[in-house]
């Protein structure tokens, strides 16, 4: 599966001793929704800026699909849409003027109609209001519409969910999934809202202190970094198990192996097993353990 590949990419900002990226090897499959995770200052935004060709002087290799490149061999600005974190706005322009200004650079046919369709998708109804009069959440919606205006094959979203209420977040994620499935858009998303990422992203990359520490699908990373699952077995009669509670809880690394053995043992001791509940550790737990270095 072709896509974007970073090969030992390192970058240090001018005048700084420490690298912002250190030997990053990362593959972003084409048409994936890729979540880039890591604590503040880990290098996520720098990685996106390197990809956009905004930072010259990095070492290593960056492989980008040919159709996305410009004549200088860097990512063509027409090939990607970007949402930067906390983008400024031109307060004197209306939402429509703002979006038209950006849209005109991409020669989008029937631009106004396209703006209206996208605005409706994210419930952005205030097209004639001044940008300065918008709430932060509405501004964020405007920026998301702007990034998707020209239907780019690659979309980079830095904190897309910031300032959005849960319903607006769902609308944005639905739009992301629709673009991914309908047009095959590749998304690279930096966010700290891990529940959203776990639900919607197909691949993940974890950055810590400028280094990539894990990369792949969530299942692949889970397999690479096994974590305990919490199992709860609810019992009717306790039989001669010697238990005093009707709920038995334990942590185990492989519930598929451990649970049948435990259940068989309980049944043999005369207990009635009513319910077995396995709570797998989520992305949030994995994130915490990875970035805190618990697996090292």
């Amino acid at each position: 599966m072709a896509g974007i590949a970073f090969e030992s990419v390192s970058y240090a900002y001018p005048g700084r001793k420490n690298n912002a990226l250190s030997g990053v090897d990362l593959v972003v499959p084409e048409s994936s929704i890729f979540a880039l995770l890591g604590p503040n200052g880990a290098g996520k935004t720098t990685l996106l800026r390197v990809l956009c060709g905004r930072l010259a002087g990095y070492t290593g290799q960056l492989h980008i699909p040919m159709p996305w490149l410009n004549s200088q061999g860097i990512l063509d600005a027409r090939s990607y849409g970007v949402l930067i974190e906390n983008p400024g706005v031109y307060g004197r322009l209306t939402v429509l003027e703002y979006l038209e200004f950006f849209g005109k650079f991409y020669a989008i046919p029937d631009l106004k109609q396209r703006i209206k369709i996208l605005a409706e998708r994210v419930k952005l109804s205030e097209l004639h209001r001044k940008m300065s009069a918008l709430s932060l959440g509405t501004r964020q919606k405007v920026q998301i519409v702007r990034a998707l205006l020209h239907k780019p094959p690659l979309v980079l979203l830095d904190e897309p969910a910031s300032n959005l209420d849960p319903i607006a977040r769902d609308e944005v994620w639905n739009l992301v999934r629709e673009y991914n499935q309908q047009y095959g858009c590749t998304f690279i998303i930096c966010s700290h809202v891990l529940t959203d990422l776990e639900q919607h992203c197909t691949h993940l990359g974890f950055l810590r202190n400028s280094e990539l520490i894990a990369n792949g699908t969530l299942d692949a990373i889970r397999a690479q970094y096994p974590m305990q699952s919490k199992v709860t077995i609810r019992l009717g009669s306790l039989g001669n198990t010697g238990l005093t509670s009707h709920e038995l809880e334990y942590d185990c690394a492989d519930p598929a192996k451990e649970n049948p053995r435990r259940i068989q043992q309980l049944v043999e001791q005369g207990a009635d097993v009513i319910e077995v509940n396995v709570a797998r550790q989520g992305l949030s737990d994995l994130y915490r353990r990875l970035v805190q270095g618990d697996f090292v």
Binding site: R54, A77, V82, G88, K104
Partner: protein
Amino acid sequence: MMQIFLHELRLVLREPRFWIPFLFPPVLLIIMQIVILSQYGVAGHVFEPKLLMTVGGLLATISVTLTADSFAGERERNTLELLLCLPITLRQLFFGKLFALLPVPLVLSGLALTLLWVLSHQDLDVLIKSLLFSASLCLLITGISLQVSLFAQTVRSAAQANVLFVLVFLVLTQMVAEQYLATWFWPLLVFPVALLVFAGLVMLSLQRFQKMN
């Protein structure tokens, strides 16, 4: 480049704090003229050739607010990053922004000087020389404040740095005004020199802009 130019021009025209200062000096002078004429008649005429040129110089200096906002302001508001991600070259972006800085001060100072000239019954020579002076100063000030704006992190720091050389230019205007207006030699020399200096400063600024981004 044209889209950036039109966008920048629209932002300037939509922002009253950018163009209102250009109206103050001529409006104040016209009010003074009306008041003095009503009290003293023609004998109390406030306009001298030198005054017309001074107003031209004063209006030219106001262009620093535009330049400071155009580059330092964009960076401060975090709006520049999105422009840098557009499918245009840095050169197109830079010149689109730069060319949008000139029409407002040039047109408004031209209009103001012409209006004052009509009211002051001066020779046409005085108007043309004052217009040339105002345009020369506008180019010089824009060129210098462009450099300042590219180095400054905020509009405020750019404006503070600009005040220093603006004061120097205003004092110089007062000192050389009579000599400048006396013949055609200085106006015809100063304007091309200002154009050349402006071009040099713009090229330096372009290099700086490309290096920064």
